[in-house]
């Protein structure tokens, strides 16, 4: 099956800083999505982004499907951005998402 590698594994920022999170896939994937898991465990869908670029407020994401990677940009970070960011995709076409190990982000005031 596909392997999903996320980097960096841990990230500490001061409020207001910008950051880039990366997700590499070992093979072509469908259904690429980014999630934020809050401290209470809920996974919030940030982007469905199989290719191209999308923006939502301070967050944006870019997927280069031909090179099998995706990037999540966080600008002007806030303490509420803290948590774990996961990317996930499927290769079989049936929403069987394979997740990376996540990037643990801590934003300090």
């Amino acid at each position: 099956g596909i392997q999903v590698e996320q980097s960096p594994p841990d990230l500490i920022l001061q409020e207001g800083a910008n950051s880039t999170l990366r997700c590499n896939f070992s093979d072509s994937v469908n259904n690429l999505q980014w999630f934020h898991q809050n401290p209470w465990g809920q996974l919030i869908n940030l982007f469905y982004i199989p290719s191209g670029t999308k923006q939502n407020g301070r967050l944006s994401a870019t997927t280069v499907a031909t090179e099998r990677y995706s990037l999540l940009y966080i600008s002007s970070s806030q303490t509420t951005d803290s948590g774990v960011y996961f990317c996930a995709g499927d290769s079989g076409g049936y929403n069987k998402l394979i997740f990376g190990a996540g990037t643990r982000l801590a934003v300090h005031p």
């Binding site: 999903v4 469908n30 259904n31 999505q33 999630f35 209470w40 465990g41 809920q42 996974l43 919030i44 869908n45 469905y48 199989p50 996961f86 996930a88 499927d90 079989g92 076409g93 049936y94 929403n95 069987k96 998402l97 394979i98 997740f99 990376g100 190990a101 996540g102």
Partner: protein, 114 residues
């Protein structure tokens, strides 16, 4: 509209017991998937159901089973609980069972096996 709802939110079971977790998808969504998330790791796929049929199964033992009801809600059952089954169990829903759909997760059920 309500999001994906799961129950119970927290539960403690003893080794060897059985547990049933419940999930109601977003209204209009016909696909439900179940994931297990062990502390410090990403979620792992357990099952996917679409239109009441199993469409996918992850690498989990037969102690894990699930079903989807005519109203598209779903139950996950785990028999003969082991300590290693302690995890956050997440339910996800999407419009259809194929790729190309945004996937939404519920708040999860925290299971502790003692």
């Amino acid at each position: 509209d309500a999001g994906v709802t799961q129950s119970p939110t927290h539960l403690i079971k003893t080794r060897g017991q059985q547990v049933t977790l419940r999930c109601s998808p977003i209204s209009g969504h016909k696909s439900v998937s179940w994931y297990q998330q062990v502390l410090g790791q990403g979620p792992q796929f357990i099952f996917q159901y679409y239109e009441k049929e199993e469409r996918g199964r992850g690498n989990f033992p037969d102690r894990f089973s699930a079903r989807q009801f005519p109203n598209y809600s779903s139950e996950l059952n785990v028999n003969a609980l082991l300590l290693g089954d302690s995890a956050l169990y997440l339910c996800a829903s999407s419009l259809a069972g194929t790729s190309g759909n945004t996937i939404y997760f519920g708040e999860g059920s925290w299971l502790t096996v003692v």
